[in-house]
């Protein structure tokens, strides 16, 4: 069979449109389901309004930021012709700066639309899931999973359409880099902002509601309960959606940039190897669309097993498709197929090992629960230690995928680093399925909250609990998956950065004997911890303000606690939104500004060292914080099932402290770090031509 590049780009776009179409179809299917009682709809309405208000503010702020950055990009790149990745003979009737600016805006817009669609369906699906849970588990599961699939499929669809169209129009991989930078910038702010929002509300609601006043979780008397439920959506749906969108696009772009250099050095067909990641993503979309069909559960069945089955089947379908592609088109290098398989297999293994450290069926959670009987200090030390240990399997997985992909690629005549990039693409190719399972989590969590607040009855709450437990597992798997994929992506981006520099006459030499490189490494290494500290301090500062507000409401209106007077939910929602958005300026500067400062001042070698330092500490911190936080959370839940004294015991009190410490670890700082290192790598690659030309130190 002949390999026609244009047709493959069209197939990619068709695959994206198909994915988007199914997402839209599922959205309307979800909207047709029974929205439930008036009381349930009223509670869901509060959550919906709070989420919409936050997104409106977030997107208004991001629109301004995106416009400013796009103007800067437009000006800067008007001086640059986009040497790397520009196919010979490609022309554009627009100046390169305008192309880059438009690509940036398109990337931001696609990421925003995917997040918006995900959240829009989530805030409608939560109440419908709660209502469906009143009838049976299978129906409620189907509804919540299909609602999650709206985000998963919309995200991959928009990403592939966006990248394919931009490449088709420009034939320039660097223009797609602009698209990726737009997506990542929005993702970083959406993820960090959502993380700050959700934990501000969660911690404040718990500290005043549970600890001070003694009211249970999701109790409608708590003024912060709606903000807490809104937070699940803005952090775990819109934030996580934007995060995976960013990793997905960045992995593809890194490989496209590397592929584009093949014509310069390797004498391989650059166009083929530039569009190959898009082809792999198209296969991943089809595999996800098929895999989603296998995610079903019967009454009394296990939703977690159904989600895992869907993931495994999707992987198998994807691998079969890769072999099919190779058989149909022998021109495709065998190394690409095996590198992609290495990526997907290792990705799934890493995901499930993350689950080991956060699942209460295994030793780490049980042991942390057990030692909680000796107080909160031991809980924290044990959880933190397991968090540190949890880094090991993921890092071994990353190393295995890196080396396997590298040497397989080399053995088949491809540059090894291209193989690493393909492994990242392989890992993320089935993001449609992974994100669907992940977005299911906050939907069922919200459904449980609505059932509780609207007094929908014990049976509904019991079923929602079963659904919710599976959501937590899916969340843990996704985090391990996304962090590992980001690690491989940034390795490929790092190589792409070096190639861009080389194309502009600067050969990056990273030697620890060079003081300028060492300076860069140290500056890079401190960035993820600093970013983590800033976002977690934002949580504590904002939570402090919200705690004051909740206390004020309880004191000013005694009827709130009596249940005779409705709290001012909107005030807490507004405080959380305001606090989260106001806290983003410095973290955003760290991500976008610091690499540029290092690059322009200390030069390309230092910037290389900077990225290296940031990548290594970023991956380690991300894994540590995500897994330790998840472990503390589940240790508390494990005790609440009646172990080690159960609720109200000394062990439970210690575990609650651990959980509160872990909240900003796992939902604010940890998951934002992979986006941070991706954004820093993208900024460096994007501005590499300019930095190559202008820097103080050589």
């Amino acid at each position: 069979m002949d390999f026609n590049y244009s047709i493959w780009l069209v197939i990619g776009i068709v695959g994206g449109v198909l994915s988007l179409g199914v997402a839209i179809f599922l959205y309307f299917w979800v909207m047709k389901q029974d929205p439930g009682t008036k009381a349930a709809q009223e509670v869901a309405g509060w959550i919906r309004e709070g989420a919409a208000a936050y997104l409106k503010r977030l997107y208004a702020a991001l629109t301004t930021l995106a416009l400013i950055i796009s103007v800067l990009i437009g000006i800067v790149f008007s001086l640059e012709k986009g040497v790397l990745g520009a196919e010979s003979g490609s022309t554009s009737f627009l100046p390169f700066g305008v192309v880059m600016a438009l690509a940036f805006i398109t990337g931001s817009l696609c990421s925003a639309v995917a997040g918006f669609m995900g959240m829009r369906v989530a805030v409608e699906a939560n109440v419908r899931t709660a209502t469906a849970a009143g009838k049976d588990l299978a129906g409620a599961f189907k509804l919540s999973f299909y609602a999650g699939a709206v985000l998963g499929l919309a995200m991959v669809g928009l990403a592939v359409i966006g990248m394919s169209v931009i490449y088709m129009l420009t034939h320039n991989a660097q223009a797609v880099l602009g698209f990726s930078f737009g997506a990542s910038t929005l993702a970083l702010l959406a993820k960090a902002g959502g993380g700050i929002y959700t934990k501000t509300a969660d911690i404040a609601a718990d500290l005043v509601g549970k600890v001070e006043i003694g009211i249970p979780e999701d109790d409608p008397r708590n003024p912060a309960v709606v903000a807490d439920n809104v937070g699940d959506n803005v952090g775990d749906v819109a934030g996580m959606g934007a995060d995976i969108f960013d990793s997905y696009v960045a992995s593809v772009v890194a490989v496209m940039l590397l592929g584009a250099t093949f014509g310069l050095k390797e004498r391989l067909d650059p166009t083929l190897y530039t569009i190959l990641p898009l082809i792999i993503c198209s296969l991943g979309i089809l595999a996800s669309l098929l895999g989603i069909q296998f995610v079903r559960v019967k009454e009394g069945g296990k939703p977690g097993a159904a989600l895992n089955r869907g993931t495994i089947i999707t992987c198998v379908i994807f691998i079969v498709m890769l072999f099919g592609l190779k058989l149909a088109f022998p021109i495709i290098n065998t190394g690409v197929v095996w590198a992609a398989i290495a990526g997907i297999v290792v990705g799934v293994i890493i995901g499930f090992t993350s689950d080991y450290f956060t699942n209460d069926s295994f030793a780490p959670v049980k042991e942390t629960s057990r030692v909680s009987t000796s107080g909160s200090a031991i809980t924290i030390i044990t959880g933190f230690s397991y968090g540190l240990i949890s880094i090991i399997p993921s890092v071994i997985g990353i190393v295995t995928a890196t080396l396997t992909a590298y040497y397989i690629a080399e053995a088949n005549g491809l540059p090894g680093i291209y193989g690493i990039g393909i492994a990242a693409v392989g890992m993320l190719a089935i993001s449609g399925m992974i994100v669907s399972a992940d977005a299911y989590g906050p939907i069922v969590d919200n459904a449980r909250g609505i059932a509780e607040m609207a007094g929908m009855g014990q049976e509904v709450i019991d079923r929602a609990d079963v659904l919710d437990a599976a959501g937590n597992t899916a969340k843990a798997i996704t985090k391990g998956f996304s962090i590992s994929a980001a690690a491989l992506t940034v390795l490929a981006l790092f190589a792409a950065f070096s190639e861009v520099m080389a194309a502009h006459g600067v050969n990056i030499t990273i030697s620890l004997r060079s003081p300028i490189v060492v300076a860069g490494v140290f500056l890079g290494a401190i960035t993820p911890p600093l970013f983590s500290a800033l976002t977690m301090l934002a949580v504590t500062n904002n939570a402090f303000d919200m705690i004051e507000e909740i206390r004020r409401q309880f004191h000013a209106e005694p009827g709130i606690l009596a249940g005779t007077h409705k709290p001012d939910y909107a005030r807490c929602v507004s405080l959380a939104a305001h606090g989260a958005l106001n806290s983003l300026a410095i973290p955003a500067f760290l991500a976008v500004g610091l690499p540029l400062v290092v690059g322009f001042v200390l030069g390309p070698d230092a910037l290389g060292g900077f990225l290296g330092g940031a990548i290594f500490t970023g991956v380690i911190f991300a894994l540590l914080m995500s897994n330790a936080g998840g472990l503390w959370d589940n240790a508390k839940k494990y005790i609440e099932t009646g172990k080690f004294g159960g609720p109200g015991s000394e062990a439970h009190k210690a575990a609650v402290v651990g959980d509160t410490v872990g909240d900003p670890f796992k939902d604010t700082a940890g998951p934002s770090l992979n986006t941070l290192i991706t954004v820093m790598s993208l900024v460096s690659s994007l501005f590499a031509p300019i930095i190559a030309a202008f820097h103080l130190f050589s």
């Binding site: 249970p216 007094g455 005694p558 609720p647």
Partner: protein, 254 residues
């Protein structure tokens, strides 16, 4: 407005109030300005009950609505030695209020639980509040504390609850304590072993364990007795509470 009488167990007090039991429980747990919280256990007392020891009619005269028409929340009639003076026949339902003000009503039952094999754990609530392990059944324990003239340690009347010991009831050394929230578990096991192996029938585990009793640990119910009679207020099972009193159940299981 109807005036109710409530006998609070912690602290012991006889109170007149214009609030109905749920409202009173809420008020008593979280205060008028909702700035405080604390569990409450109280009986509703027959409004016709009179006893020269308590200046009830004097309190009734003071129990009038506030100037703005708000019902009077509480007029304290007595705060000392209430249990020993009150007639148990005047005690109506027992109310258990959680820290955030959810109230559960327990009604007395004529059927006192049969003696079960194994060890027992008793939380005395009033007039003193030690945590005690014993080989005696609830009825035997009451007899020993209130009616046995040979016993050195007696009280004129008592309110107590039997708490769940799980596997410890039969195997204090090796039994699992999974869902038992008691602190200082090693000491509890030691005390249980001692009553099992030595010639003593009861042993104090903790001098004053209340004021916060975890309702979910109550094994079968509450006992209130004086020299003339023993009354029993059975506690519904956790399953019953979850299905029929979900809000209270959640609040009590935090």
């Amino acid at each position: 407005m109807t005036i109710h009488f409530y006998f609070s167990l912690v602290p012991e007090a006889l109170i007149a109030s214009m609030l109905d039991p749920e409202e009173f429980g809420f008020y008593y747990a979280v205060g008028t300005s909702r700035k405080t919280r604390g569990q409450a256990m109280f009986f509703e007392v027959d409004p016709a009950y009179r006893n020269p020891y308590f200046r009830i009619d004097e309190a009734l005269a003071r129990c009038i609505p506030d100037e703005d028409g708000t019902p009077k929340t509480s007029v304290y009639i007595s705060i000392y030695r209430v249990l020993e003076h009150i007639d148990l026949n005047a005690l109506m339902s027992l109310y258990l209020t959680t820290q955030d003000g959810r109230t559960l009503e327990l009604q007395p039952s004529p059927e006192i639980p049969n003696h079960e094999k194994g060890l027992h754990l008793y939380q005395e609530i009033a007039p003193v509040s030690p945590l005690v392990v014993s080989v005696l059944s609830p009825v035997e324990f009451y007899e020993l504390i209130v009616r046995d003239p040979s016993s050195l340690v007696t009280v004129p009347a008592i309110t107590f609850a039997e708490l769940d010991l799980g596997e410890l009831a039969d195997d204090p050394e090796m039994g699992l304590m999974d869902n038992l929230p008691y602190s200082n578990s090693d000491h509890l096991r030691e005390c249980l072993s001692q009553v099992k192996t030595k010639y003593i029938s009861t042993k104090m585990v903790d001098r004053a364990y209340v004021p916060k009793l975890q309702y979910r640990t109550v094994k079968n119910g509450f006992f209130v007795g004086n020299s003339s009679q023993l009354k029993y207020y059975p506690m519904p099972s956790q399953t019953e509470l979850r299905s029929e009193n979900y809000r209270w159940f959640r609040s009590a299981n935090m």
